[in-house]
Symmetry: C2
Subunit: 172 residues, 2 copies
């Protein structure tokens, strides 16, 4: 074991500890690595939202918005057809009287199977809802409006409650 | 006017024109500025969405999300109360059996007026929905999921229609 004599004293103790099957006193570099491994823990500071199973609240909200986009696309296409294709406009109107747009995908599937002309309108609706979702809809504005709505609603609810239960009105 | 002789021929004509109170032949840089001023016209290339009156589709979607956030806040508070305040948890559960959360603001207003203890739960729900909307809800994720959902739904609807109407299945 001549090569051991070339090592420094700390390195020597490290290797001899390995030979004795003991946990070696870790040199500085190794112990620093362990500290590094400990830091990136998953610390989720969000509130626990139960009852969504495997899906997230975002996925549920996206599903609602998906149906909303179909509703908007139907309105857009109806207005477009009114100006340049009165016959197709009438057909779509009649179809709308009999079918609900609440389930957007079902509405489009039914519209496709009504007739070849209805199918073309359905394809147009699919195209419009895709473009509307990706280009026209103002996502930043949605976030701003929702935050503002929460603030205003909370203030209004608390103010109304205080006015009802306090003597403010009687004193005036 | 010895310094004019130091200028180039185009610069010379520019200065002499100023001296004669005439509109000078504009050098390249200035004429480019005028072009720049003309470009930022308001050109709205968005599709016309009828039927929303004074409100926008974004405002309507924000209203939907507002009710959704109240629903999520009710779920969060119910789960929190279950672990540290079983009495309040039971009271909220009983109230939920009798009242719908579909109209979030009405639900909170009714909860506030049920009893002083219910009022505290209602205030907690108002607080939680505000924090959830502003901090916990993943807006970017919502946009991504909605775009993905539109793509997948459109593809599925068209594929199903083609499979139904073509001879692909018969040939297999």
């Amino acid at each position: 074991m001549e090569h051991i004599s070339l090592l420094s004293s700390s390195q020597h103790s490290f290797f001899t500890a390995i030979q004795k099957n003991k946990a070696p006193p870790l040199p500085f570099r190794l112990s620093k690595k362990r500290t590094y491994r400990r830091t990136p823990r998953l610390r989720c500071q969000k509130m626990y939202v139960p009852g969504f199973g495997e899906a997230s609240p975002e996925a549920k909200a996206a599903k609602h918005l998906h149906n909303f986009f179909t509703y908007v696309a139907v309105r857009i296409v109806t207005a477009q057809l009114e100006s340049y294709n009165p016959e197709a406009h009438l057909e779509l109107k009649e179809f709308l009287d009999k079918h609900s747009v609440n389930d957007g995908d079902k509405f489009c599937a039914d519209l496709m199977r009504e007739s070849p002309r209805h199918k073309n309108i359905a394809l147009r609706i699919l195209e419009v809802r895709s473009v509307y979702c990706k280009k026209d809809f103002e996502w930043d504005n949605l976030e701003l409006l929702a935050s503002k709505m929460v603030n205003e609603s909370n203030t209004r609810l608390m103010r109304d409650y205080v006015l009802e239960t306090s003597d403010v009105e009687n004193q005036e």
